[in-house]
Amino acid sequence: MTDRATHPAPATPEPAPAPEAAQPAPATGRATASPRADFGSVAPSDSIVLRTGTLSWLLPYRAALVSLGLSAVIAVIVALATLASSTGMSVRASLNGLLGTGDPLTVMLVQDFRLPRIVVGLLVGAALGIAGCLTQTLAGNRLATPDVIGVNEGATAAVVASVVGSSTAMVGDWWLGPLGAAGAAALVVLCAGGAGTRGYRVLVVGIGVSTVIGAVSDLVMSRQNDNTAGGVFLWSVGSLSGRDYGVGEPLALCLLVLVPLALVAGRRLSVLRFDDDMAAALGLNVPLLRGLTLALAVALAGVAVGIGGPITFVALASPIIATQLYGPTRVPIVGSALAGAALVAASDALGRVVAPVEIPVGVVTSVLGGPFLLWVLFGGSSSRKA
């Protein structure tokens, strides 16, 4: 209690601004204009401040360094994935194929099959990572990913259902993914009573909705003959097999639009980590921001699922990994994208090479993701933050 004795509470405080309380003060006068000289900058310590005129920017150099590191990791993964072969093609042959100097078959295998697949994997992973980061921030809960809240199931169901109507019985039309995702998200939001509900409500409703939609997918699949069902099944666990620039291009275009939007939203989303009242008092239009962010997350997850199938755990793990790397004080949009890209590309390469018969990337991520989920549930990620 000694600390209280030092407080200058006068014995007779005045209800009005008390001029006499000020009299014994050292005559330094301008309290707000001249802060104590002995404390340094109060700018974010992990950023460089750039100013010209009335414009100013914060350059988060620590985040930039981490991003560079992650990019290097991705480069290594891409290199290994390009050279790794499931058919015993030598590294030299792969290199020749990449450079276009090998025999035509090798060149085709590497340039038209392997490379596009890796690129699509990176893009799908980035989209899933950002989508997960957005939904986790929205719900204020690490478990709130597009996987859990029904968005992925919606996208899956739409694509699976399209197989029934198609004469070729082929899984196609990636754009059904975002449509299905939007439908599922609308259903979840409707049932949960608005996008503004924080925490468990969206999660619980989402789990219910995804169970229902998942049942629809299963029902559709069970009505198909073995051949069709096999193809649909492969897609429905998440696979990049046979993905090429034909789907890569629209995916890249979507990301070109959606990622900058997510980056712009990121600054405001960090304020959403306060409670909604505080965020509104800080000038945020909370319902609007929540609605737009959810739409963004649904679009990203929908596109990713439409092309790569519902690759599980990437949306859950990427933002958590990114938070570990970038520190808990920011919303790691870029980090989640990079981590997601690395995860999917690495898992796909692993699934392609590790077994005699290719393991779909979605199976690899769920094998890796199970233990990760347990680690999150048992507080591994949060205790390290504390």
Binding site: A11, P15, A25, V271
Partner: protein, 322 residues
């Protein structure tokens, strides 16, 4: 005196339920008019459920009123965009939730958010405002500490720093002392006086009538959604008001020194002090006594360091008006 905040014919309430949303079944605020001068400290008091929180939320642009206006410097804040409103009014909610792992400086920087944008991420103004807020609240020495590792009293000063960094002419505080022990409560209320002395208008909801009487220039007493008394504490706080608001008999003493009214609830002699509804009520009027011992233990090292700054600015901040 310049008028800063005007509340006119304000009515606000809650829908009856999900069945009939169009009809406002319960009006929590039933027509409130207030005119508040710049640099004043206004305390809104009243029993639980009297509408004081709803009134504050309507002023803070958090609760859309049915009718009426809230004007700051001539602008109706409900006509402004959320961001512009945040340039005029800041709010400290009753138990705000901070972002995970935020440092004190990080928290206070968030106060600058309404002034920032894509091309104005950290201006010299931001730097100055954050420094000033840290200094004014005496938490400069805690700037690099994590908020969740501080005691309740320290944390509340940090939150205040954040709200001050927003540099709004009107500051709203929802029960800023409700979780604090007497020492920290006094500290926060002294700070509120300094904020007002620097020219800002402070409107706060307070539960403790005696604190309100001591630290506010104007008391707004609310009961069942209307203002039942309005004016300087010495003119409005009396036994009749206490009975009207809380339904308890009380003696009003004059504080030695400045004569500000002190409310002493009268206990019924027939009923032992620890029984009966009045005892519970009386206990309610001394909020936030639970975690005082824990606070004190944690406080020692950092607070003695910070006290110096707080003291200096306490006196400096009052100079311009003195």
């Amino acid at each position: 005196m310049t008028v800063e905040l005007v509340v006119e014919r304000l009515k606000a309430g809650y829908p009856a339920g999900s069945a009939n949303k169009s009809e406002p079944a319960r009006l929590a605020v039933r027509g409130v008019d207030l005119t508040i001068a710049a640099g004043q400290v206004v305390a809104i008091v009243g029993p639980n459920g009297c509408g004081k929180s709803t009134l504050l939320r309507a002023m803070a642009r958090l609760h859309q009123p049915h009718t009426g206006t809230v004007q700051v410097g001539g602008d109706d804040i409900w006509q402004l965009r959320q961001r512009q409103a945040a340039h005029r009014i800041s709010l400290l909610p009753q138990s705000p939730q901070a972002p995970e792992a935020v440092t004190v400086a990080g928290l206070v920087r968030y106060g600058r958010h309404p002034h920032q944008g894509l091309f104005r991420q950290w201006s010299r103004e931001d730097e100055r405002a954050v420094r000033a807020a840290l200094t004014a609240t005496g938490v400069t020495d805690l700037a690099d500490r994590r908020l969740d590792q501080l005691s309740g009293g320290q944390r509340q000063r940090c939150w205040l720093a954040m709200v001050l960094a927003q540099e709004t002419p009107v500051v709203l505080l929802d029960e800023p002392t409700s979780a604090l022990d007497l020492g920290h409560a006094v500290e926060v209320l002294e700070l509120v006086r300094e904020v007002a002395a620097a020219g800002r208008t402070v409107v706060m909801v307070l539960h403790d009538l005696t604190s309100a009487a001591r630290y506010a220039d104007v008391i707004v007493a609310m009961c069942e959604g209307t203002v039942v008394a309005y004016g300087p504490p010495r003119e409005v706080v009396d036994a009749a008001l206490v009975r009207q608001l809380y339904g308890v008999p009380a003696d009003i003493l004059a504080a030695p020194g400045d004569g500000s009214p002190v409310v002493v609830p009268r206990s019924r002699a027939a009923v032992p002090a620890h029984e009966g509804p009045d005892a519970a009520r009386a206990a309610e009027q001394q909020p936030g006594r639970h975690d005082s011992s824990r606070d004190a233990e944690q406080d020692q090292p950092a607070r003695t360091g910070a006290a110096g700054t707080g003291e200096a600015t306490a006196k400096e901040a009052t100079l311009p008006t003195g």
